[in-house]
Amino acid sequence: MDIRIAGLALLISIILSGCNSNSESSDNGRITIVTTTGMIEDAVKNIVGDKADVQALMGPGVDPHLYKATQGDLQKLTGSDIIFYNGLHLEGKMGEVFEKLAFQKPVVAVANSISPARLRKVPEFNNNYDPHIWFDVKLWQEAVKEVNRYMQQYDSANASYYQQNASTYLKILDSLHSFVQKEISTIPETQRVLITAHDAFGYFGEAYDIKVMGLQGISTLSEYGLRDVANLVDYIKTNKIKAVFVETSVSNKAINAVVEGCQQSGYDVFIGGNLYSDAMGAKGSADGTYVGMVRANVKTIVSALK
């Protein structure tokens, strides 16, 4: 049967044509680094300075839970010298791939160095932690230190350069931390409630003494119930909360339901603004860096609730 022969010939030709392996590695001797989120990219850039090329897989406004890899992303991953990712299941199944890839090339989870005692455990489920560590600046400093430690080990010739950059950047983060503390404490205690659509701000709440309430759980599939909306509306009314917030990488629908619910029962709550949660602002803008993103969030929260 000629169809079968044609099929076989086709298969063989594919196999033969694919056999010239194209192994590409770093060009012109510079170290190439790939990170998953923009926050990690920013941290790495601050440490490696001009010694390496750094790029993130997930751009501004991309929800890490919904990220889909392209053919080019695979090239970036295989062509890079080092991969930094968040860990704690932020990257979903991709994290599993990274764990195994670590047998073959330098792959580092920046959250791994943080002691479990400082992480928010998901109640009832052991070994499952809230991955949104960048909302607590002190915790994020641990991630920065991990990057610094690894870079010094990988490229020991430039160790002192990395150490110097890291010290400078950690100082900037120190002052960022006290900035957030100071700003949030100016909100009257009764108003210190951060209401958003999904549960990303847990670390922020714990670190800066602000109550955090979300409609949805962490999973994008955990739908909010009618009772959740009603409870939240009641809470807003009785505590006279001024504003609720939307997130740049999550749909506004859920939070709009709460705002409408409040209006129907005669209480006006307004939307305090857009918070950056799982992704930073556009590249090149002030909100496109980690420091800028945290500052923008704090500004939005304080001006809405004060």
């Binding site: 195994k100 047998f103 073959q104």
Partner: protein, 294 residues
């Protein structure tokens, strides 16, 4: 082996396994069963997590696999005992199971990131870097190639040994029963094969690609021939072509590989729809006009 070849091979393995089973599904008017399974496995994932507290792939595949088989069982049960048409039976079963999954998440696991997208569905782009590493630390190569290759082998053996039985129970169930072949048994064997293949393939290359490969290549072949064996051969060739052309479309556009392969599958179907020598829309139209002119 280069990265390109690994991805194309994984795509071809999955396309062949899914396509061969898809031939029977289309002829039995059950094509949407793959899509149904992709939704229905949600409670399996949640329950597997609730029992073990782990979100690793093996746990998730076991949970999803059990519910996948249950899904096909329920579809047949409602169809046979409730006198429902198969499409209605598929619709009732998977929406119900998916809804149970959503409720289970809301009640028990709202604080954990848990859905098919983040814990079960794989991504074909990661085939070259998703390695199988033994406990001793030996790197065995791309894990997905082993899994999809094994699944393909199982399906080939299954169809080769049961070809006559599957053929008869598909085309002439009454005659099959008369000569002593159990239609029920072969139906469940086929459905079991479908659930194992789809769940394993979801984990390897993602859901959309599997659903597309289960239907589009066999549907294309269906327009080109009326002989089951030729249909299966054509399906295999189309599946491989989809995998190769889809991969290079993704390279050219720097897009999602699964998306590009599914696009090519649709394109091949469109070509067969228009130009098939027997069933093609344009060919038929042209013939009609010719007949009028004579």
């Amino acid at each position: 082996m280069s990265n390109d070849l690994q991805i194309i091979l994984a795509g071809s393995f999955v396309a062949t396994a899914c396509g061969l089973l898809g031939c029977y599904l289309i002829l039995r008017k059950m094509a949407m069963v793959g899509d149904a399974i992709s939704h229905a496995v949600l409670p399996g994932i949640v329950l597997a997590f609730l029992f073990t507290g782990s979100r690793d792939s093996v746990t998730m595949v076991i949970g999803a696999g059990i519910i996948g088989v249950l899904t096909t069982f329920l579809i047949e049960f409602f169809h046979k005992k409730g006198k429902l048409q198969t499409d209605a039976s598929i619709g009732v079963t998977f929406t119900w199971l998916f809804a149970i999954g959503v409720i289970l998440i809301s009640v028990f696991a709202g604080k954990v990131d848990l859905d098919q997208d983040c814990v079960l569905y794989g991504e074909i782009a990661y085939v070259p870097i998703d390695l199988w590493i033994t406990d001793a630390g030996t790197v065995m190569g791309p894990r997905v190639l082993y899994i999809s290759g094994t699944v393909l082998l199982i399906i080939l053996v299954f169809i080769a040994t049961g070809y006559k039985e599957l053929f008869l129970t598909t085309f002439d169930p009454a005659y099959a029963t008369a000569v002593g072949i159990s239609t029920v048994l072969w139906h469940y064997l086929l459905m079991g094969a479908v659930s194992i293949t789809t769940v394993a393939s979801f984990e390897s290359v993602g859901a959309i690609l599997v659903v597309a490969l289960l239907i589009a290549p066999p549907a294309t072949a269906y327009l080109l021939t009326e002989d089951l064996f030729k249909m299966m051969v054509l399906t295999t060739i189309i599946g491989v072509l989809v995998s190769v052309s889809g991969y290079y479309l993704a390279v050219a556009t720097d897009g999602s590989i699964a998306g590009a392969m599914a696009t090519m599958a649709g394109l091949f179907f469109g070509l067969a729809f228009l130009f098939s020598p027997t069933e093609g829309y344009l060919v038929k139209k042209f013939r009609k006009e010719k007949a009028v002119m004579h």
